[in-house]
Amino acid sequence: MSQSIIQPDAIDSFLSDFFKSRMRHPWPAAPVPVSAQPSALVAPRVASSQMDTNGRARITLAASVALLIGTCWYLSNGWQSADRSLSKPGQGGGPNVLPESTAESPGAFEKNRKDKASQTKDPMAGFQPGPITLP
């Protein structure tokens, strides 16, 4: 390769060739931007479906809460306490478990105890004391 004096025009031409060769031919088209907003056809459907979803969720939540409260009330004898409040003491209202008895006069308990005592045999009947034989 020979040494040569470079003229200004030469370096101009060389640089121009270089930079222009780096540019694409043809020049690419503009990028196609994707719109972030949904189309007019999709937008109403999306909005209505969102409303449906929200409504359904609220109804489900309300039903769940109601079921939970009802279950807790039922398990805490909610119905029985309601009947007791309606019945008068000693009148046998409500569940007929201990008729004609109150906390002050547990007549039913007394009768029950006497009946059981009369029916019970002597626990010592038939027992013969003697030596115990060990194997």
């Binding site: 390769m1 040569s4 200004p8 030469a10 031409s13 640089l15 121009s16 222009k20 503009a30 972030a36």
Partner: protein
């Protein structure tokens, strides 16, 4: 926000906005590319940066941002994107340095003249990389886009005299470096350029 026909809500319609976008791309995409290319001397990267800058402009419009000077905005975003590339893992780790890749031959045989020209360009590219980014900006705008000193000064917001001075200095330096390496021969394209 681009000008154009507006719909009932006062915003430009989609087609008007798209037309404005296309117009901006036609006017300024080469400038954006040139300044991105001047940063890394990588044509494909510069094109990626250019396209990304324009897509970001579109997104700004969609977000309702009011961009008063899209040209300045695009150039600023492109510069930032090119700088971000410097911090990227690919740039840091890379695959092979450009000097190495310059020597990789294509699988298809090139004509001898084309090959010599490409090798000369690779040499020039290496010399350009030695220049400051500011000088590369000026050279790229001058020779890729044929901008005159006034336009370059306006675009880069520098003094016209400074543009002339830096352009002259960069050319002188390149001529010296390439002469030392004996890259300019009577048969190469640059030498032919003196006869035109």
């Amino acid at each position: 926000m681009p000008n154009g026909s507006a719909n009932d809500s006062g915003l430009p319609s989609g087609s008007a906005r798209r037309a404005e976008f296309e117009s901006l791309y036609q006017h300024y995409s080469r400038e954006v590319w040139a300044l991105s290319y001047a940063r890394w001397m990588d044509a494909d990267l510069a094109m990626d940066v250019t396209q990304e800058a324009f897509l970001r402009l579109w997104r700004q419009w969609e977000a309702g941002e009011d961009i008063q000077n899209p040209r300045a905005w695009l150039l600023r975003v492109a510069r930032n994107l090119a700088e971000d590339y410097a911090k990227s893992a690919f740039r840091r780790n890379g695959t092979q340095p450009p000097e190495f890749l310059n020597g990789v031959r294509s699988s298809q045989p090139l004509p001898v003249e084309m090959l010599e020209k490409e090798e000369l360009f690779a040499r020039l590219r290496a010399e350009l990389e030695e220049l400051s980014p500011g000088d590369r900006d000026i050279l790229t705008l001058r020779y890729a886009l044929d901008y005159d000193a006034n336009t370059i000064a306006e675009l880069l917001n520098v003094n016209v005299t400074a543009v002339h001075m830096r352009l002259s200095r960069a050319r002188q330096r390149l001529a010296e470096r390439l002469s030392v390496h004996g890259d300019f021969t009577p048969d190469n394209p640059a030498e032919r350029g003196t006869n035109r």
